[in-house]
């Protein structure tokens, strides 16, 4: 009874979920938009539709914080605030979150069954994204940019005296290029090529079948380049974009899934996130569906 009274009592304690104005809504074909609106808008837009059961505290507290978190990371009502490349990236990330079952949040679809994304819906979303992929030979601007960068690098003009450090204290590790590659990826969602390197501890763990979980001290470095397609269909690595690290230490990095995360952009190795340590949330959110694989996407190739 006390519990019940408390339950009624706390109904009056509720954080506010205002609906701010829509500055520029998601622009996609109608069938795609209908799915996204139905499955995602309650948490990722300014048109939150709170039904009666969402308004019961403490369900409401959970919902309010989901809306706040969801909106902060991805807001389809403020779509115009993202650069076109970032809009595209968010759509690919979204479909992958759906495929992995991470989104819409399972705790939400358990109650809002109508928000579930059916296999047919997923087909519509996949076809739409696949239709945005275009393969064409590189234009002169891309070729020139790559050439210019190459010449600097070849003459060793990109060597860095003081190691840049990300907001979470992780410094750029120049030795990554001497590590062994454990896999490569062609990313046709964002037109890049990638090589994933593993340090000695990671490579030893692969040889010894000891990667579940990965041992402390294992480090991955993933390098991304722009794609440079020539006329006979071969796609080479163009401009160097960034190098990203995951450093395993289940104690030191316990609060970030046991991994230290950092990304350094351009040959100048500019730390991503600037002074804001919250950049790691972005890394973690996207790697979260791989929790059963110790948050690692790559399947290493043994030799």
């Amino acid at each position: 009874m006390i519990l019940f009274l408390g339950f009624v009592g706390i109904q009056f304690v509720r954080p506010d979920v205002p609906n701010p104005p829509v500055t520029g809504d998601l622009e996609v074909p109608a069938d795609v938009k209908a799915i996204v609106q139905r499955a995602c808008y309650d948490c990722h837009s300014n048109n939150t539709n709170l039904r009666w059961y969402d308004k019961i505290v403490p369900v409401y507290w959970g919902v309010a914080s989901h809306i706040k978190d969801g909106r902060a990371d991805l807001n389809f009502s403020e779509w115009n605030k993202l650069a076109p490349a970032d809009q595209k990236a968010k759509l690919w990330e979204s479909i992958n979150q759906i495929i992995s079952g991470a989104m819409p949040l399972p705790s939400y679809t358990a109650v809002h069954t109508e928000a579930k994304v059916s296999p047919a819906d997923l087909g519509v979303l996949k076809n739409y994204l696949a239709s945005m992929v275009h393969n064409k030979p590189a234009d002169t601007a891309a070729i020139n940019a790559a050439d210019k960068q190459y010449q600097h690098w070849e003459k060793n003009e990109t060597a860095i005296a003081k190691l840049p450090t990300a907001a979470n204290g992780i410094a750029y590790i120049p030795d990554y290029k001497n590590w062994q590659p454990i896999s490569t990826t062609e990313r046709f969602d964002n037109n890049t090529l990638r090589v994933i390197f593993g340090n000695d501890i990671a490579v030893k763990a692969i040889k010894e079948n000891n990667i579940h979980p990965w041992p402390n001290g294992a480090i991955f470095a993933k390098v991304a380049w722009a794609q440079l397609q020539d006329k006979d269909g071969t796609t080479h690595t163009g401009e160097f974009k960034q190098v990203e690290y995951m450093i395993k230490d289940d104690k030191k990095y316990a609060s970030t899934y046991g991994w230290g995360w950092a990304r350094f952009k351009t040959p100048k190795m500019v730390p991503y996130g600037g002074a804001n340590v919250l950049f790691t949330n972005e890394c973690m959110n996207c790697h979260k569906p791989m929790a059963a694989e110790d948050f690692v996407f790559t399947l290493p190739i043994k030799h």
């Binding site: 994204l129 590659p181 690595t237």
Partner: protein
């Protein structure tokens, strides 16, 4: 009170959703390279990586320190003791990321080794093919492959 029970039901569902055990695939077994005395990637560095979208293949060119240095200098001079190894895989869709392709079955491993012979440098080329990395006995087209491999521009790795 009914709402409270549906809340409990929702919590139970949440817990259930977290405990489904899907089998975890940890290695790319398809793309694994069988060990062979004919090639050795240990200690070799990445020179570059490329894909062919028409053929659906992914390749990585490896080299020892001398080969990497020569490649950065445009392979204008071929010196002795350089080792280049080009591994080519078929591609497959990445099950973990819609929007990515990763290596699948090995198609070939091509090895170039240079050695001094008198006043010259001899360039030896071998191609290993297929799953079992059998030595290709047909030697036609070798000169072209050597030219192609030595013509690859290294990837910028700052």
């Amino acid at each position: 009170m009914k709402a409270f029970y549906s809340l409990l039901a929702a919590c139970a569902l949440m817990l259930a959703a977290c405990s489904d055990n899907k089998p975890v695939e940890l290695y790319n077994t398809k793309a694994a390279l069988p060990s062979s005395p004919k090639y050795n990637l240990d200690g070799l560095k990445v020179i570059t990586s490329f894909v062919n979208k028409t053929k659906g293949t992914a390749s990585t060119l490896y080299g020892n320190d001398l080969a990497l240095k020569a490649a950065i200098e445009g392979n204008k001079i071929i010196a002795a003791k350089e080792v280049f190894t080009l591994v080519t895989w078929k591609q497959q869709d990445d099950d973990h990321w819609f929007g990515a392709k990763i290596p699948s079955d090995v198609e070939s491993v091509e090895v170039i080794k240079t050695a001094s012979s008198g006043n010259n440098v001899a360039v030896n080329y071998e191609q290993l093919e297929g799953r079992n990395l059998d030595l290709k006995t047909d030697t036609s087209g070798q000169a072209e492959r050597i030219k192609y491999i030595l013509g690859q521009k290294p990837s910028v790795l700052p």
